[in-house]
Symmetry: C2
Subunit: 644 residues, 2 copies
Amino acid sequence: MLIGGAVLERKIYLKKMELGQALRMYLNRLKETGFFEPKTEKVKVSEAIDRVLARAVFALRSVPHYSSAAVDGIAVRSSETVQASKHAPKRLDKGHFVIVNTGQPMPKDFDAVIMIEDVHFLEDGSVEIFEPVPAFHNVRTIGEDAVEYDMLFCRYHRLAPQDLALLLAAGVFEVEVLKNLECAVVPTGDEIVDPSSELKEGFIPETNSVLVRTFLEKLGATVRVLDPVGDDPAKLVSTLQRLLPAHDLVLFIGGSSAGQKDFVYRTLEKFGEIVAHGLSIRPGKPTVLAIVEKKPVIGLPGFPASCFTVLERVVKPVVEAWYHQSEPDEDLLQAECATRVYSSVGDDEFVRVVLAKVKDRYVCVPLKRGAATMSSLTKMDGVLVAPRGQEVIDEGERIRVQLTSSRQRIDETVLFVGSNDPLIDRLSDLLIERGVRLSVVNVGSLGGVKAIAKSHAHFAGVHLFDSESETYNVPFLRRMLGRFVVVKFARRLQGLVVQKGNPKSIRTLQDLVRKDVRFVNRQKASGTRILLDYYLSKLGIEPHQINGYENEELTHISVALRVKRNLADAGLAVAYVAQLMDLDFVPLCWEEYDLLILPEFLNDERFQTIFDVMTSSDFRNVVFQCSGYDISDLGKIIREDEPK
Amino acid sequence: MLIGGAVLERKIYLKKMELGQALRMYLNRLKETGFFEPKTEKVKVSEAIDRVLARAVFALRSVPHYSSAAVDGIAVRSSETVQASKHAPKRLDKGHFVIVNTGQPMPKDFDAVIMIEDVHFLEDGSVEIFEPVPAFHNVRTIGEDAVEYDMLFCRYHRLAPQDLALLLAAGVFEVEVLKNLECAVVPTGDEIVDPSSELKEGFIPETNSVLVRTFLEKLGATVRVLDPVGDDPAKLVSTLQRLLPAHDLVLFIGGSSAGQKDFVYRTLEKFGEIVAHGLSIRPGKPTVLAIVEKKPVIGLPGFPASCFTVLERVVKPVVEAWYHQSEPDEDLLQAECATRVYSSVGDDEFVRVVLAKVKDRYVCVPLKRGAATMSSLTKMDGVLVAPRGQEVIDEGERIRVQLTSSRQRIDETVLFVGSNDPLIDRLSDLLIERGVRLSVVNVGSLGGVKAIAKSHAHFAGVHLFDSESETYNVPFLRRMLGRFVVVKFARRLQGLVVQKGNPKSIRTLQDLVRKDVRFVNRQKASGTRILLDYYLSKLGIEPHQINGYENEELTHISVALRVKRNLADAGLAVAYVAQLMDLDFVPLCWEEYDLLILPEFLNDERFQTIFDVMTSSDFRNVVFQCSGYDISDLGKIIREDEPK
């Protein structure tokens, strides 16, 4: 990893292109090169599931291939049943009926079947019937399903399970189908290493290829993943030359940004036609769409969210065009945006969101937007497209979201926001057994209160310290909301997380001013930071006296990790994380972490389920294994109405 | 195949059970036996696509594992950028900035990155910047995505491509997942034979197992299909005993009706618990839901539509419960029913339908309803559930349809009804290339006129002979509709299809009255039948004079097949089918087969596409290869408005 390097060699995106235009041009150019001309092969019908027919298929025999009884009963001549009725049963002697079972060929000269249940068998071997039947009644006639020579399917039909059954029945045992798209995936970059190796700073685990491979395989492609290729132009060239003859699509991952090492672009520029270098979308900008030897070669960005977005928006349409399938329906939902979203002026922005139904309308909460975030991809229920030109989506604005989860899954989702606690994760895991899916979005205690006030979530986790009363939550909420419902959750022990064995003998907050103690703080406005500042001011300690007061982390776990890695000697966090990481802990105080409930959610049966699981012995057992929690008040409901 | 047999041994369904109740009972009983207790195995993350997690998974390292530059640029101390502005650039000397590329570790004591594009490099090695940046700007902080110890996924989460990438990034290389459901599928019945064998009457090709296998595989199960087992109770017992230890679910196909040979039911009754024998659904009635040795054993009906319906309604929920997944969303559509549907009083009836959007509302056309029809399964876009108790769904009634095709596919569908002609199939195959999907439903010429009058289709194929004017279509439509649009399609040659070489020397309709000539007729009200009757009456021939006048077939192809198989000597049909089957043909007259268009559809761009393809040289080439067509008027548009 060179720091610095030749700045002047840099290349800026010369023609950042609008997504729709780039895709249209790319598909058109590929069409012109003949790339989408069907390449076909013959496969056995029994192995043709999900394959796409290359041409129309015709029946080679009739289905069924003979006329048969469709039920168990007696075959009759319909003309002989005309006078039958309940009051005057018609008697048929031997020779005028034949007992038949389902599937048996119709006896010659008989044209209808009466169900066995509707026949009265007489002792002399004759029968009585009680209703006339029309010709072909309960008869499965030859060719009823398909007649020999019938066209069964058009070209480009994707074969479903029932299609295979019909083909076999119609005597078709082999079909000509489109060949599967053969893809090669090449991760690039000197910094890319095997994810199972020891990771050093500056090296990035190669995790994109599994995403790209399984994404393509689900679309029907055959995928070969190569070992990463370093930033070596000669190697990229030889790799490409080796891959092109045997593959239909080559994907390079990484190395397509306009950075100093944009080797993929430079290689493709030399050997083929660049249709687009840079797309005006976020994430996904550093994309190269090229054609080399009449085949698509795509440079995918290396950041995971960018890579995924380009797979969805560019690669998928190319693969679908190969299979002559139209893009599947994009399921759209109108949702109310829970937070203000600033979008870029010049780019279409794809913002990943979680969705839930709150009070009869859908709410979407934007997730982390960075191109590098992977967790937003795993949590999302949909994608909000903030189109170019629209600078801001307001909080409360109704917008259209493209779904990636099913509507049912979204309808079942209970949205939890606010401050998080590890117990909420454990609760959500138990809730799965009861069919309730919790979507957890961390926005801090105050964010949680705001979301409940606006009906943008079902419930929130809060620990809001009221310094006046020196108590938690209720006095604070009384001032902020007036009317609210709180379910008591857990008291949790806050204190100083210190090294195992407490080598620096840190006993009180006073010890933080010692020169040999490195502190790690939480971010401003977090409940834990407010608590710290309150205690420091009581003790008359100024922030500048503490070494490391300005080092901020966003979660309890991050604070403890910093201590664990010996980057700090002490940090304020809940006891549980010290236990988790096998660190020592100096108790400071108990704080109250409670659940603020949307009043309407109280009557939702899912609330009852959550309440049941929360107060179950299963959950209590989970809590008993975690240090520093007191759940003696768990489940107590406090409801305050507006003072009159 | 025994005809007759021991009638007294029959067993009637004693407890036909409502579907919902049967399924609930079955799932509950299986739960009580512990069947749904998770069975787990460990798999590599790289091979875990679509697998279901058995338990919550926690991050084993932070993602990313170090803080890095998120863009190419210079690392700075945010506090030193505060005064920078466009008008008064801030100058940073060496030591106060470090050039960094995307992904490089943040240099110690630097906390923000300014993009290279926004930096002005001076000759003395210092830089100028034009804006202040906040701390962590363009920095990808350690643990931004996931922090070590974070819960990444709850139990029973099904792993998507992006999930695998996050797991690898978080240092998780192996996960514990639910074992795949191991299924065994056993076709039963003496009459079941290999579909590739020569089919004799009374024998049925075994085509259900490919449907069942691929259906289950798409749900994630592992499936083993056995060779068919005959109707031999001892063999069924030994097969079941052999399969149970190694499989989680055993499916018998066929043999579960209440017929004389209901061996599957009798076997299961002896060895296990029968939860339901017979469901009050159509199709799908003869189903057995049993539990043997704490495992589900299901007897599926042998008729394809029944088998499919029970797979969808019973087997799928069992498989989903195994994987602890809730049933996916059922996409529903409100549609107007194009024909009256009589439903059964006691059963829920699942009617397969095609769907299309006509004049801004959806229209559904019921397909053949028999349990034995396979083609309805391959053509359907959705399933109309006619619930027990509702005796009739009226034509024009708005009803809810459960979709099996995507909404986009349905929206793209052009609905063609009326009389069919083989050229329409060939046209539909060519249209696929142009992105138009034709759904073809045969209801005869008059049915087509009716559908267009009610806006229940986009266009219809008609050949309606007006005996008064001795011409086709226009005079007829003038009387029936008043206002209409016709696009001329093809004149086609009708005549007598006779044996190759015409051994019986059939030259005119007069020859049909000969005693040695066996005739095959078309059904009443078909255009061809009307034509025949017209000519016979002109010639003074009475129907009873013709040997076989009462033998009716439904299509041109069926008539020709009957001749081909030497079951008849002559039949009236279009010349093309004689060519298709290499038979001889005695021309009788030309008839006009035209397209009646819904007036609003004229302005639909898909009509333009159809028109373009229909008049293209590609289509003309197809027609030139078919005998007996004259398309010199093809594409002429006749529009008549109501007389004023």
